[in-house]
Amino acid sequence: MATLTLSGLTARYDRTTALHGLDLEIADGEFFVLLGPSGAGKTTTLKCVAGLIDDVGGEVGIGGRSMTGVEPYERGVAMAFESYALYPQKTVEENLASPLRSGRLGSWTPAQQAERIKQVTTTLGIDHLLKRFPRELSNGQRQRTALGRVLVRPADVYLLDEPLSHLDAKLRAAMRAELTQLGEMSDTTTLYVTHDYQEALALGNRIGVLRDGKLVQVGTPEELWTEPADTFVARSLGQPEMNLLDATAVDGVAKTAGGVEVGVPAGVSGPVRIGIRPRDLTIGTVGAGGSADGADRLTIAGRVVLAERLGRAVELSVDAHGDRIIVVTTDQKVHEDDTVELSVERSAVHIFAAAEPGQDSERIGAAEPIRVAEVER
């Protein structure tokens, strides 16, 4: 068990820079998730910590000790690779025994090895596969074996690279729930890399969102969810992704092309973006509720263009006078071509700075009530 510190971590491949000075402090026993799209530098970060990449700028510290110049096996890290990297010519048992037999991670008698392997494989439910070769395993079993090779040895830090990504959706959900139950996982400092926001939200004590080799935001799942630093973080979490409507702010009120109006924080004017999560919107029929509670709720009227079933929930594409808004609802009475009134709490409406289409921009704040005086003026 140990803390993990990255300071100014920089890595280059050929001419491209994979990491631009990463700074991060991970507490002892913390489960930290790095979330980002492919190519963001997630795997590179893990490999820098493991000491598998040469020519790294900055410093990695484990348990307060600088790892510069320290060989991979002396760092006290255990890593699960996305590709599993199981030795194809060795059985599951030999794969798991490999760290124990190297002689560098403590000396283990054959009996101790067998006991340790038994313990781990029982936990992971793969004790019946010990004599199999990796090619004879399903993806789920390979993934467990790779995880077993991490758990079987003593380590200060676990590095897990997309361990669930090759599993089908159902197995992934089950394994995700299982991971949190592993005692070893909850006690040992873990750096976990994924592109799946649900994994990040479910597993992480804290999450760091990585883009183009830079940390965009670090925080607890709730912090990232309620106050995303920019549209990139906002779009990274949640499916379908957050609606972003272009608007122009004049006198404290932002108005979209389709006529949606929200109050903006003081001092904001000019082009902005309004962000609303599809699941934060609720549905009412027009005229039913009116906008009596208009002070803390924003209401938008529109026509349902598409109603698509996601499962129990239905995803609606709503055309609000030209603004296209995606809504997820469990109300199954809404049909295509219906006119609906969407409503959302003002605190769940995010205001972002404007940017070119396809570019990300910073969050300014949450929507404010429209002050009557300003509207009249």
Binding site: D14, E71, P72, P88
Partner: protein
């Protein structure tokens, strides 16, 4: 097997039949020298220059080539020449593997400034005409005293075998995920042990394929031994041509028989490791 309509699949038409006929014709034409040689090796001395297909086949030529009679005719013992060739080629392949496997590994794993230039230089040994270097080599060999020795031949055959082995194995190492060795490093193994334990077993098909190819290329090499060996360590390629005589009598039937015997060892080796060869020659066979 799935039956799909493929772009090449069509019904027979006069055009397609004509095209097939041309291809069959070309096939026979290409195969003819080989057929002719087999026929020639079975002919007696008196029939050797006749172009009729009708003759009385005899295996006598093969015996003659391997006997003292053959040695008398050519002043080279053909059996010894076979042995010399085996020693030279096996030696050359072993030396190439010992040096070439680590070289290929380094070339496949590490990129550095000029790494591609180094690889191209190695490959260019294969492109360079042997005649270009043969005269300086002859002088050097004489001065070093390795003219007409096995050591000299093994050395010079590196020009043939090494580039081949390095190039083939490099693509194998490139195709092998580096993460396997990285996992071994984290498991507590040194780079050397990670290489021996993880990487080497996985490229075995590649080693077999490249070693065989290198062996065949070395076996068939003619120019180097022609100039750099004398009568003591003559390999088969040179020995075969001795039956054509140096200004005296030409024994075409014996030449053909000798050539067939000389072609046998590579063929046997190829057949014995055919399983590896098929997998090995399709690059990237490491990934499952």
């Amino acid at each position: 097997m799935a039956r799909e309509l493929r772009p090449g699949q069509r019904k027979y038409s006069p055009g397609s039949i004509a095209a097939d006929a041309v291809l069959v014709g070309w096939f026979i034409f290409s195969l003819f020298p080989l057929v002719w040689m087999v026929l020639l090796s079975l002919k007696s001395r008196s029939e050797q220059i006749s172009t009729y297909f009708a003759f009385t086949p005899t295996l006598e030529n093969f015996g003659t080539v391997l006997s003292d009679e053959g040695t008398r005719l050519t002043s080279v013992n053909f059996t010894e020449a076979l042995l010399t060739s085996v020693i030279n080629c096996v030696g050359a392949v072993i030396v190439s593997l010992v040096i070439g496997i680590p070289a290929a590994y380094a070339a496949g794993r590490w990129k550095y400034r000029g790494s591609n230039d180094v690889m191209f230089t190695i490959l260019s040994f294969r492109f360079a005409p042997e005649l270009m270097v043969i005269v300086p080599l002859f002088i050097i060999y004489n001065q070093l005293g390795i003219f007409d020795t096995n050591v000299g031949m093994i050395w010079v055959l590196q020009l043939v075998t090494m580039p081949l082995i390095v190039w083939i194995l490099r693509s194998y190492f490139q195709d092998m995920p580096a993460e396997l060795e990285q996992a071994a490093l984290l498991d507590g193994y040194s780079r050397k042990r990670a290489f021996l334990m993880v990487a080497l077993p996985l490229v075995r098909p590649g080693i077999a394929a490249s070693a065989l190819l290198a062996f065949i290329f070395a076996w068939n090499n003619y120019v180097f031994p022609l100039i750099l060996t004398g009568s003591r360590h003559t390999p088969v390629t040179v020995a075969v041509t001795r039956f054509l005589g140096g200004g005296g009598q030409a024994y075409y039937n014996l030449t053909a028989a000798a050539a067939l015997i000389a072609a046998l060892p590579p063929l046997l080796v190829a057949l014995s490791i055919q399983r590896y060869l098929v997998r090995g020659l399709s690059f990237g066979a490491v990934k499952s």
